[in-house]
Symmetry: C3
Subunit: 362 residues, 3 copies
């Protein structure tokens, strides 16, 4: 049970009142009991204190904590940053017993780092290296030759493919698949898709075609401090590896195709899809359900709003929205004009009538 003083120190924040008060967990003001730390980083959450029983709270700067009936308060100038520190302090993390569980299968040639914890029904293949203090939850498979960094956390049922390399402090959420084969097929003759890419929609003739598989000889390399969401999929490269840079975070159900290169410190939100061989720069933020076409380039610091479909190269720093993606301002303008379009059509019809009359009267 940390004290208010300890929490404030850890957050580098100012605290007032009874700094020796201890709290057990965080809670919303209305739900907080006397041993909870209530969280109200904005005035709009202040109402909850009337119904809750908190004695201490993490508050917006300048809050009158005594008027809220509190005995102690911590002040957070940047609320969500304080949340990061606080939730980290209070997160017990998943229960994975230290050592290798009796019901885990570890190939004799695998090297398990000091202090690693490996749960039940885990399968670790030949030549695998697991970093120090790594934690691997139940039902995970780590295929031959894979390397997992120090302090990694691989959660339930995640699939780590052959020769995949994962950095230090990586977090892989349940069910994620890293290192499935790429989706790469070719037809003996030029396929309809190749024809259309050249002609933008015209096809000379349509011939039956069936698909021959291009195998994936590459693997996946992921940097340090990366997080991969639940049931997300990252395919292996064809010859070289698919790469995810340091500090990048992928949300649930994100799809990263073969040969894709994602830079550092990116955010790829839920259900984003990146087609094969696309390159994504550093600090790129893609909202939920964004799509990126194959073989294109998305520059550093690009931000794309939810469901944007990026179908051509995007220069660095561009802010995008829409299908197909355009600058966010352009999208807003286009949508406004589109909403007025039925009225515009009526205006043109009236004009046409007026002009034809004028013409007649000439």
């Amino acid at each position: 049970m940390p004290t208010i003083r300890a929490i404030a120190d850890a957050l580098g924040a100012v605290a007032e009142g009874d700094l020796d008060l201890q709290v057990t967990r965080a809670a919303e003001p209305a739900m907080a009991g006397p041993d909870d730390l209530a969280l109200a980083m904005d005035l709009k959450y202040a109402d909850g204190f009337a119904t809750g029983h908190a004695r201490a709270a993490l508050l917006w700067p300048g809050a009158d904590w005594q008027a809220l009936g509190l005995q102690a308060a911590i002040f957070a100038p940047r609320g969500r940053l304080a949340m990061a520190g606080l939730t980290r302090m209070l997160d017990a993390g998943p229960q994975i017993a230290p050592g290798v569980h009796a019901m885990a299968l570890v190939d004799p040639s695998a090297v398990i780092g000091e202090g690693a914890a490996i749960g039940p029904f885990v399968s670790i293949g030949a030549g695998v290296r697991i970093g120090a203090r790594a934690r691997i939850a139940s039902h995970v498979s780590v295929a031959e030759g894979a390397v997992i960094g120090d302090d990694a956390l691989i959660l339930q049922g995640a699939r780590i493919g052959a020769r995949v390399v994962l950095g230090d402090r990586i977090i892989v959420q349940p069910g994620a698949v890293i290192g499935a084969d790429g989706f790469s097929f070719v037809t003996p003759e030029k396929s309809g898709v190749e024809q259309i890419r050249e002609t933008l929609g015209q096809r000379d003739h349509i011939a039956a075609q069936s698909w021959t598989r291009i195998h994936s000889l590459g693997s996946v390399t992921i940097g340090d401090d990366v997080e991969i969401g639940a049931n997300a999929c990252i395919d292996r490269g064809t010859i070289r590896d698919t790469v995810i840079g340091h500090g990048t975070k992928l949300d649930n159900l994100v799809h990263v195709g073969h040969n894709v290169q994602v830079g550092r410190d990116c955010l790829l939100c839920g259900q984003v899809g990146i087609a094969g061989s696309a390159r994504i720069g550093d600090r790129v933020v893609l909202g939920g359900q964004v799509g990126v076409s194959d073989n294109i380039f998305v520059g550093d610091d690009v931000i794309a709003g939810g469901a944007t479909k990026i179908m051509t190269n995007a220069p660095a720093g561009r802010v995008l929205l829409g299908y197909p993606a355009v600058r966010m301002e352009t999208h807003v303008e286009m949508q406004k004009a589109l909403r007025r379009l039925p009225r515009l059509a009526a205006t043109v019809a009236a004009l046409q009538k007026a002009v034809s009359k004028t013409g007649e009267s000439d």
Copy 2:
């Protein structure tokens, strides 16, 4: 082998002919053998009887069953409702042997309800409570402190996170992940995304940023009679729980972000994505691939067509379509106008010419 009489009674439907005839399974008319119950809830399926060998059928109201060569018939005034009753009767369900399989790992502190069935390679954590008659298929993991209701059905490889609470009669399809960590990150300084949300696309300058994790201390609470689709993901809340109300159904690959509140009796179709902290009312129907932005509100009884992207609050009862979402009628009008737009532009060009001529001739 139920008789026609028994089936008609169970469906509350009228039957005619040899009510003692027995059937083993349901089939389409053309594929039906003599022991099958042919299903033809609409006249358009009647052709199949010519090639099939059914002796009994579930038919549209008023069908001339004798002319179809049948010996017995059940009449369903609302065909799909009859299908619900019939398929329920004939569904044997998954084979999961009663009791705890010898190859399942159950923490000694877990409480398993009477009549529960737990399959092989299942892992049940400390303090878990499993309801009476619950069935848990192979490879499922249930983490510490989770609670699963009576008559629950948790299918192969589903992941139930720590302290998740699932209601009675819940069905979780294979591979679903309930209780992964939320996707919540903050930068020490104001991030590009925060800047753009304020300015709608303008950025003063671009600074390097890296992401600090906000841990998820909350969990997930799901009501009774809910169904969660295969490989769907529901993230835990930051402080409070993510909540799914009674009777709500989620299809495959649906993504529900942290802190989301979904009401009762909703339908979330395949690949729907709901971003963090969104609130969804009761009886909301979201078609396939619909997206809902973070922190917004979707009112009761909203219906959104396939691939609608809801980016602002939607009032109760609204019917939506499009990206960004607008009323369905508006969308239809806008699309019509858009299809005529090239012609409209030509008309305007002609008008411009005519007017400039008129001007000249003045």
Copy 3:
């Protein structure tokens, strides 16, 4: 270590230089060591030879291999096709030990084909039949009555449901779920969705509704030479089976609803969603994130660009783009016109002014 001669023979390609040179793996020219076969199917990749150390390469037709400093070269008239042959030769495939692993559970009534390999923590249900030389990786579940063809490859944690039938040479990537229950629910009274489908958006009144489940009695039948992507989901049919034809390939996170019929030799790219009872013809190519509405028909040889939402029947051979889907040419035209729309509106306003002036001056 194959020789250049052996590789050229296998690819049916012409080779020059020291045909007895042996190579161990494929590499990009810049990364290639002296024992690697460098791949440069296009002149634009030639630069890499300056920094790499390859002695042999697979090159574009007409390349001057001696000028590139090579001792041997193979020429590929159709590069990606050569890649298919070459990667197939060099792919060692996943390590799954022959026979049934001691930690696999196989029901005594299951029949395992000759030469099959079954990994650890695999569960095989009653009456299952596994083909000759099939390989099943760790953590896979195969439910009762399923049939898996010869030379199948089922990867880690895939879920094969009851009575599912998979063809010969099928590849199922990790985490795929074949045979979850369909998403099919009905309300006792006509639901809001049914009403809207009839009226295109109008609703008389809104009544509370809750959902009754239609169980899935059908299963899934998949042809030969099919590939199913990681975490993809294919639901079982209601009465008849959901069907995927021979040679069709599904990418990661694809969703195929109940009763769907997909033809032969189709490509369904990442995150495609096909709603219940839709029918897809042969050789159809759907780009990433494409959606297909329920109960519609997509004809043979249709190609849909990324994120196309197909909401009505699409005739054979049609090339589609957009939401809602239109012909690709129409989409390009509409988008051009839309981008010019703000300017068009200004022109109309100016015209209106001019005409009203002309009118006045009459």
